[in-house]
Amino acid sequence: MGGYGDVQMIDENGVRADGRGPGDIRPITIETGVVPVADGSCRMTWGTNEAIVAVYGPMEAHPRKIQRQDRAVLDVAYNMAPFSTTDRMRPGFNRRSREVSKVTQDALESVVLLELYPRSKIRISIEIVSAEAGTRCVGLTAASVALADAGIPMTDLVVSVASGKINDVVVCDLNKEEDNYGEADLPMGILPNSGELVFLQMDGDLSQDEFKQAWKYNMDAAQEIHKLMVEALKEGDSQ
């Protein structure tokens, strides 16, 4: 985290530069069926983030050595398109993308009923075509919608959202400027029905009390976002 305390991003009344209160999230839109050739797909915009997720499968897992006799494997790839960032992102291998892919896969494997599809593979491609801040949360949330759109059974949807700290104040869902100068970032992957977690990362500096506040903001935001996800899936079904 940058942690440049001299940029004023929230005023004494708790109003942020973009007009939001500390616990408010940015505007979100969700749409399914956006990749016609895929088995399930989702386009999610969140602030000026945009993710497109396609799900293919269940299909035969090959090469054979990745097959598991008793369950399906997920193959999750998170990627940022070259034009998704202010400075062009060079295509190709990238440690950050590899790590985000891995934690996203770990989160989704926790909810997909893998044992229903032994020896098969489900491929989940997450493409960030416009990046603001919080792209891993957008990608994970959109991926769980795309899985539902593909009819893959899950124990619950996953809602991912991050809180952080700006000017020593804990706030929810950092935007780009807040993220650049923010002092902490706590992204979580939440099961909205049970309040349990499948994904957790954090970096920066949070006291134990600040940490608890950030945790609470995420839990509340998850409920709000969950409603939008359910609506989008209903709309998709009715088409």
């Binding site: 000026t48 293919y56 070259p82 997450i126 075509v129």
Partner: protein
């Protein structure tokens, strides 16, 4: 892209259709799919476009970088065009280093745009010998239902025409519109069921043979050609395609001009 087992049934079905001069989705031999072209759709790109041709969807984004001009061309900037087809776009596209197919895609589209001279590289100079703009056009497939070539080319030229040079962000003056003097158009033909058709779908590609890509400029001048895949064609067949491309390119150019 893994080698798909070409279904013999599909091939013979496509031959039967060809005999009746029909196509698998009901189109005429020289008829393109429903087309939708949008621009200014990517917040982080300096120029962008989205093209939908039937169930084929692609994005194009333009970014700028400052480069040092090459010593032998101190007054010129550069244009780089790169195409990516990632697994998101279809069941048969795999991750990993660029496949021969996607390298060919990028190079063929790049050649059509570059050779048309639509970007005046001299106009990209900022300080001779020191600083110039490098224009980077990235083509990105969202959904591949065939003929990514034409979709990429169309999205590419639209995004370039939509691009603003971000001079302010780089602290070298005021932003201005990228100058694009020509509108090259690519038209692609696949041999399906024995004869060539325009704008093939993925199933036609799968059950078809060689393909020919033609890029024409505003004045019908030829800027690039490419024959792809195994196959033999005659001079007469080529002439027929070229004549058709002159018509198709004009139609497409009208759509872009009216955006």
């Amino acid at each position: 892209m893994t080698i798909p087992i070409v279904p013999k049934l599909l091939r013979s079905h496509l031959s039967d259709l060809a005999e009746r001069d029909a196509r698998i989705d009901g189109r005429g031999r020289w008829e393109g799919r429903e087309l939708e072209v949008q621009h200014s759709i990517l917040p982080r790109a300096e120029g962008s476009a989205r093209v939908r041709m039937g169930d084929t969807i692609v994005l194009a984004g333009v970014k700028f970088q400052i480069m040092t001009p090459y010593p032998d061309r101190p007054n010129q900037g550069g244009l780089m065009c790169s195409a990516e087809v990632r697994p998101v776009a279809g069941r048969n596209w795999e991750s990993g280093p660029p496949s021969p197919e996607s390298i060919e895609l990028g190079r063929v589209v790049d050649r059509g745009i570059r050779e048309s001279g639509c970007i005046d590289v001299d106009s990209l100079c900022i300080i001779p010998g020191e600083k110039a703009w490098q224009v980077i056009l990235d083509l990105f497939a969202i959904s591949d239902d065939g003929n990514l070539f034409d979709a990429f080319a169309l999205a590419g030229i639209t995004a370039l025409r939509n691009a603003t040079v971000p001079a302010e962000r780089f602290e070298v003056g005021e932003d201005y519109q990228l100058s694009v003097s020509k509108t090259p158009m690519m038209c692609s033909y696949h041999r399906v069921g024995g004869r060539f058709v325009f704008d093939a779908t993925a199933r036609e590609e799968l059950g078809g043979d060689e393909r020919i890509h033609i890029t024409l400029g505003d004045d019908n001048n030829v800027h690039s050609l490419q024959k792809g895949l195994k196959g033999i064609f005659s001079a007469e067949e080529f002439t027929e395609i070229m004549d058709n491309a002159i018509e198709r390119a004009e139609e497409l150019r009208k759509i872009v001009d009216e955006l």
